[in-house]
Symmetry: C2
Subunit: 339 residues, 2 copies
DNA sequence: TAAGTCGCTGAATACGTATGCACGCTATTG
DNA sequence: CAATAGCGTGCATACGTATTCAGCGACTTA
């Protein structure tokens, strides 16, 4: 019983072979005979031997690790549950490919490539984040120029540097708005930050406008309030609209979190949801189906998204070409729109 | 402009010193003169040089990385928002100490120590999880015997192997229950799995019973239903109690997620919250304050918890002794109990 | 002036693995 | 039988850093 961790050399001695053979055997190299391989693997299992990833990575110059950067305001303890789903599915997808996941919520440095790839901490970077986009775009551009391997979950903006994977926000918003219209709603408020900071919300805004115009409804500036994706911002934006005393019969919220705030605000002002005012959200976070009333919303397939993000980043690492693409959203109809 | 990543040797050449001096300078060793050190650091900054963590770790035999294991059912895409808060605060606390965080949601292997410490992926492991505890306890024991560095967020059970940090669940539940009693509620239902699988809920159960008995109320088996921490389980458990037709005027839910399901169920059965039935939860997840009605609940200080978890695991890594301890909870009074 | 001290630097080496290359052995072919 | 090919293995080395030890100059002290 040795006191220190076993190395491939220890295994080699025990198996009566050389260290390189052990290395090959453990990586299932076809170069080593089946007999030898199994013998070595048995001994390794016996000793509970694990390859030292540092030595392995140093030699092979490739860390089997991905970095996940969550670009949310770190000061706020609230993080969108939607990203938690993504985090879960990305972790699982990465694990399936034999990759570990390094998670960070903050931006300690200006140069992510240096922090992760140059430091050999990770072979690729996945970005996740709602909003505050302009804050990051130059850093992303720099990454692209530096030839880093990274992919961003977000809107596919033509001409933008880097690779993107996102949900078809325009389509999702279009379908949700259309649904409200088909239920007879004519004065549909819109809550969400449509500045360049939030290209995702901009896309949803486009879908909203498209549905309005296709059904002959006029856009009303008075029913539009900016908000980022938190309950509180949704609450406040709704309050703002209510104070304008412009009548409305429904609200399209750019995220479920905002919808939660919106519903709370409407209730506190004496409105019933959905009888007086219908509400739809976006994301289909787990809570959506358990609210009162259950929230009609646009579902993004986080499982699929996580798998594709990992698959794409691995392709990039392997030097393959990938296309930015959009995933189809799905309208989930529940009670909050009164259907 | 070299095409490959700069190494400490490159810096050494440029600075006209040897590689060891570069290594020392970059680690702020007092052995190297201020003059030389600043010169080297300037060049390193210039080249955007980053220490190769693999080489560094290999040499020093210490990865500046912690592993975070989330023991939730991986099949379920729903993850308790409470853990997300913890994840955020742990990430930040780890970053402040210069540690990276490796996150995993699944239990790919039976032997976590081998997976992380022996493989030199991480120096320590932090566990996070609600319930299914018995499923992990033997693995935790094995870790303890193997001398691994790990700490678990959870109840402090005397005699249990390993180190724990948790919230004073008994006290929290006691205060919440007492609050209901003081508001005049006399028939308080209890929702939560009190089997050995959930020692945290067992502690909350104790606090609940203590409050009842101290105020001369009798425990009623009919008002007790088991549930794990999801909205759906909370819904179902509430339905079960309702079907027993035993009258009750309030519910203590072992988690906010269950409270959400409980409130939904009560509403669908025509009860008003809090007028007919008051509800309190546990955790104070972000949604709690934005529900209708806002949820009275027991807050756990996730920021403090994350910091202490990291602080403690680092102490363990440094060979110091640590004591398991409990953090004080705080009752957050909102509208769902009708105060 | 010789011995000792202090401050700084470089030479040598180790960390544990992966891989290019050469080598020996057996089987095949002409 | 010689030449060739194929298979399995070992030798040597490289990955980039951190640390031990020795050395060197300058400076103090007797």
């Amino acid at each position: 019983m040795k006191d220190s961790k076993p190395t491939s050399l220890d295994i080699a001695h025990l198996a009566g072979v050389s260290q390189p053979t052990v290395s090959r055997a453990l990586r299932n190299s076809p170069l080593v005979s089946k007999e030898t391989r199994e013998k070595i693997q048995a001994i390794a299992r016996e000793l509970n031997y694990k390859v030292d990833v540092n030595a392995s990575n140093l030699r092979s110059q490739s860390t089997k690790t991905l970095a996940l950067l969550l670009c949310e305001d770190p000061g706020d303890s609230m993080i969108n549950p939607f990203f938690l789903s993504m985090l879960g599915s990305i972790t699982r997808a990465a694990a399936k490919e034999g990759y570990d996941l390094l998670v960070s919520f903050q931006q300690l440095s200006e140069d992510w490539r240096a922090d992760y790839e140059d430091a050999n901490k990770a072979n690729g970077i996945i970005f996740l984040g709602y909003g505050d986009y302009t804050q990051y775009i130059d850093r992303i551009s720099r990454l692209d120029q530096a030839g880093a391997h990274f992919i961003t979950w977000g809107p596919v903006v033509p001409g933008q540097p880097g690779h993107f994977l996102g949900c078809d926000n325009t389509l999702g918003a279009y379908e949700a708005t259309q649904h409200l219209i088909q239920l007879g709603r004519k004065h549909i408020a819109f809550i969400g930050d449509t500045s360049d900071d939030c290209p995702e919300f901009q896309d949803r805004y486009r879908g909203y406008l498209k549905a309005l115009s296709e059904h002959g409804l006029k856009y009303n500036q008075q029913l539009h309030a900016s908000a980022n994706s938190t309950e509180t911002m949704g609450f406040d934006a709704t309050q703002t609209i209510l104070e304008r005393t412009e009548p409305f019969d429904s609200v399209f919220c750019c995220s479920d979190l905002m919808a939660i705030g919106t519903i709370q605000c409407l209730r506190e002002n004496g409105y019933s949801v959905p009888d007086d005012i219908a509400v739809v959200g976006f994301d289909d976070i787990p809570t959506a189906s358990h609210m009162t009333p259950p929230l009609t919303t646009v579902q993004q397939d986080t499982i699929k998204a996580g798998e594709l993000l990992v698959e794409n980043i691995l392709s990039l690492i392997n030097g393959e070409h990938i296309e930015s693409r959009l995933l189809p959203p799905q309208l989930i109809i529940r009670k909050s729109c009164g259907s």
